[in-house]
């Protein structure tokens, strides 16, 4: 899609341009070529390809990359603070950390993975807190953008999860026994296997990482899009249309609704982070469990 004005400059234009452009990353230190390709208002937007305009700073130092880095610092800082000199009788600070930690450790890892859950606890704890902080950025005033509505981060997480559970399975069973275990369900009679085996292969090796990534990405992407539509569109209808009271009322109403959607986004932020680690644990569990 061409680069029109981003979300908020929409308010000053005659016709609002909605679309994914508000999801674009912006370099913190834009090169001249980048600025040419992303003209300010009034100049005709150009279509540039990456190789034409981008210096490495345009690609690697952007607002969304910075946001992810800040999220990582917040997560590490949070854990270091809440786990500092833990006491048998917890302080309030420690209690908060323990609450989150045991929720993942006992509620997800031990509950789903079972006996040898201990070695997966760091993974799940890190993953849950990193995802939820990034998701909450979508409703946080300094950022107002959920990092994981940038699909690249999400693909990375899906790939690493895919590698994790397959590595666990291969390490425990060996390559071929593991693949056989995953695609040939136990106790299914021969002819039906012809049908079931390709399905199981698709399901366990192809669909899983894709759905994992798409679920997280699409929830945040759609949530943010929804917020933008209600806020930007509502503001436009309320303030820019001068002679139609119905539009103004509708605009005010959609601004009110946007508050509800923000509340929903808070729930989604938590829920998607939780689902992601639950499914990760579920996949690890299915990879290492006895034939089912």
């Amino acid at each position: 899609m061409a680069y029109g004005p981003s979300g908020l400059t929409v308010l000053e234009t005659e016709v609002p341009t909605f679309g994914v452009s508000a999801f674009d990353s912006r370099p913190l230190f834009p090169s001249e070529r980048w600025q040419e390709c992303h003209p300010h208002e009034g100049l005709a937007p150009q279509i540039c390809s990456t190789s034409e305009y981008a210096t490495w700073t345009d690609i690697w130092i952007t607002n969304h990359i910075l946001q992810a880095v800040i999220a990582a610092i917040l997560v590490i800082g949070f854990w270091l603070i809440v786990s500092h000199k833990p006491q048998v009788v917890p302080s309030k600070r420690q209690w908060i950390g323990e609450y989150v930690y045991t929720m993942i450790r006992n509620g997800v890892a031990r509950e789903i993975i079972g006996d040898n859950y201990h070695k997966y606890v760091p993974w799940l704890v890190a993953m849950f807190t990193f995802i939820i902080v990034n998701n909450l950025f979508g409703s946080f005033f300094l950022f107002m953008f959920p990092t994981f509505s940038k699909v690249g981060f999400v693909w990375g997480f899906a790939i690493i999860t895919w590698i994790l559970y397959n590595a666990v399975g291969i390490k425990k069973w060996g390559f071929f026994p593991y693949v056989k275990k995953m695609i040939v369900p136990h106790g299914v009679p021969g002819p039906i296997l012809i049908l079931v085996t390709p399905l199981e292969f698709l399901s366990n090796f192809i669909i899983r990482p894709i759905t994992l990534a798409l679920r997280l990405f699409a929830n945040l992407f759609a949530g943010h899009l929804l917020v933008m539509i209600f806020v930007v569109g509502g503001t436009y209808l309320l303030t820019q249309i001068k002679d139609n009271i119905i539009y103004n009322v509708a605009g005010g109403f959609s601004l009110l609704i946007s508050f509800g959607i923000f509340a929903l986004e808070l729930l989604v932020a938590y829920l998607q982070a939780y689902i992601f680690v639950v499914l990760t644990a579920q996949y690890v569990s299915s990879a290492q469990e006895e034939a089912h």
Binding site: A68, V69, P122, M127, V151, G152, V154, W155
Partner: protein, 178 residues
């Protein structure tokens, strides 16, 4: 790859640039490393300590409970012994009381008998004394009286005495019959 986003067949499902993916994974690796090396050991060590503390607490509580049960048993035993002892003391006291009562009674009876006897002896003695005195005085008075009535002296002792004696004897013979 900015222009790729939204332009290809995958639309926004294609990352704007591989940078996101790489940065995401690197950050995740850093977080995992810190959580794995620092956070989890801190919490797990503390959980072990807490479990030990709780286990120790339970053991201490059990110990205290045992002690309490022992104390209770000892107390009950002591109470039963005390009851027995009290009963025994009560019985002994009752027996002693009965004994003392009997002793007192017999002593009182003895005393009474002795007093009665001594009184009786005294009465007897006084009686015989009175009898003696009477015998003497009455003879005297009677003689004197008779002498006055007769106007003569009855100083002839031998005769008088004989008369009086015989009179007294007759009195003595009469009196026990009363």
């Amino acid at each position: 790859m900015y222009p790729l986003e939204g332009t290809g067949p995958l639309g926004p499902l294609l990352p704007a640039h591989i940078s996101e993916l790489v940065v995401g994974l690197v950050l995740f690796a850093i977080i995992i490393f810190v959580v794995w090396k620092v956070i989890v050991p801190r919490f797990e060590t503390m959980y072990t300590e807490r479990a030990d503390a709780i286990r120790g607490g339970i053991e201490r509580a059990e110990q205290a409970q045992d002690e309490a049960a022992q104390a209770l048993a000892a107390y009950r035993e002591k109470l039963a012994t005390a009851d027995d002892e009290a009963a025994r003391i009560r019985d002994a006291a009752k027996a002693t009381g009965t004994q003392i009562e009997a002793e007192m009674r017999s002593k009182a009876e003895d005393d009474a008998a002795r007093i009665v006897n001594s009184a009786r002896a005294q009465v007897e003695a006084e009686k015989s004394l009175a009898m003696e005195s009477l015998r003497k005085d009455v003879g005297q008075m009677a003689t004197t009286l008779a002498g006055r009535i007769l106007g003569e002296s009855l100083d002839d002792d031998a005769r008088v005495k004989k008369t009086v004696d015989s009179f007294i004897v007759s009195l003595s013979e009469d009196s026990p019959k009363k």
